[in-house]
Point group: C2
Chain length 235, copies 2
Amino acid sequence: MSQLPRRRVAAAVAGEGAAPATKEARASLKGQQTKAAIVDAALRLASRLGLEGLSIGAVAEIMQMSKSGVFAHFGAREELQISVVREHFHRFEQEVFMPVLALPRGLPRVEALFANWMKRVAFEIESGCIFISGAVAFDDQPGPVRDALAESVNTWLDAYRRAVLLARDEGHLRADVDIDQMVYEIHGLILALHYEARFLKKPGSIARAHAGFAHVLSTYGTAPSAAAAAPARVG
Amino acid sequence: MSQLPRRRVAAAVAGEGAAPATKEARASLKGQQTKAAIVDAALRLASRLGLEGLSIGAVAEIMQMSKSGVFAHFGAREELQISVVREHFHRFEQEVFMPVLALPRGLPRVEALFANWMKRVAFEIESGCIFISGAVAFDDQPGPVRDALAESVNTWLDAYRRAVLLARDEGHLRADVDIDQMVYEIHGLILALHYEARFLKKPGSIARAHAGFAHVLSTYGTAPSAAAAAPARVG
DNA sequence: CCTACCGATCGGTAGG
DNA sequence: CCTACCGATCGGTAGG
């Protein structure tokens, strides 16, 4: 097999920066680039097939590498799976969480977080979501992969809870709102979207998730806005 | 291996009824009993490992049979998976749906269906649920197993929608209730229960699902009952 | 319902 | 990062 495609992939990941001084540094940089490219390919594969369907052989084929070449970067299949979980979490954080920090605390952030979350899950209707498929695959399988997955999900849900708490403190939500309860119901709307749209292929699911969120706000919110009017009918 | 355990399993499935007249009928009956026992074992295994993790070899070991002995009853792994889906649906129907037909139409059935559904999913927090794990495993894999799974789930959700529709007709729900929307939100509560209780092992999830249902009824219902009071705080 | 097998694929190792 | 291999397991088949 030609080695050219490999160099191209590695270069595409890190860009063509200034060359490192020593031979060792160059080799180490190339190793990191290759590893990043492997994780990227593995994440795409795991999104479609699930974390448990992720095999070193399939990743090697995509990368045009030997199985043991891929294996050498991780030392165990579990390490590859964990790297995939961390990468997915990192992207989720960048796309969903980070942008809302520019907004004022309270309801604006709660709404923007849901909007960004929805955007991601709506995108994942096509590709699959490893936070959802992984939860099912590893709910009964203790170990480091399950731990990495649960830690990522809990970190995200805790962040959402803090945003809801701030909104309550700001007086944007009723003072007696149960934070866990509200986030539970919102989480359910997201999970139903993934289930009904991706598995059942039922049309209108995205609108239903949004309507459900408006419904939640209409019960727990304090501002009688247009969005918070009881949304009995949709489309 | 002793053959005694096998006979005992087959007898336990169908009971010790009157013996059939002919030798062929006896053989056929025993075949059916064995097949039922295999499906039962496979359902238990698939609940824990998922439909896609169900292997003929593992079922054979549980049954103390050879792999090809199990295989002979189904002709293909897919047929075993489909049998498991049908058996799961049959039990779901018996436990969740059938009992409510004794109740009056309208809100009582809608509430009892949710209560029975909850009871089942709460039980499945320990064992796993193939309607949920199967949805994730087969959401991207066309074929007869996916079809059987989607058909079962759709049959159940349609039954729930009809119950909600009757409740609206009876005047137990607001006249402008969107049936699909209400069932979507209830479905989300169930999915969040499975996710948060089984995967995240978060305590209090069952109470949150019930509170969420009360919340849904408080918005869509017409009777201002105790259960339908806005449930902002739980436990 | 069995034994005995098939080709494919899995994660992982040896040795370079 | 490679070739060449290991033992285990997979679904499925042949032949009885």
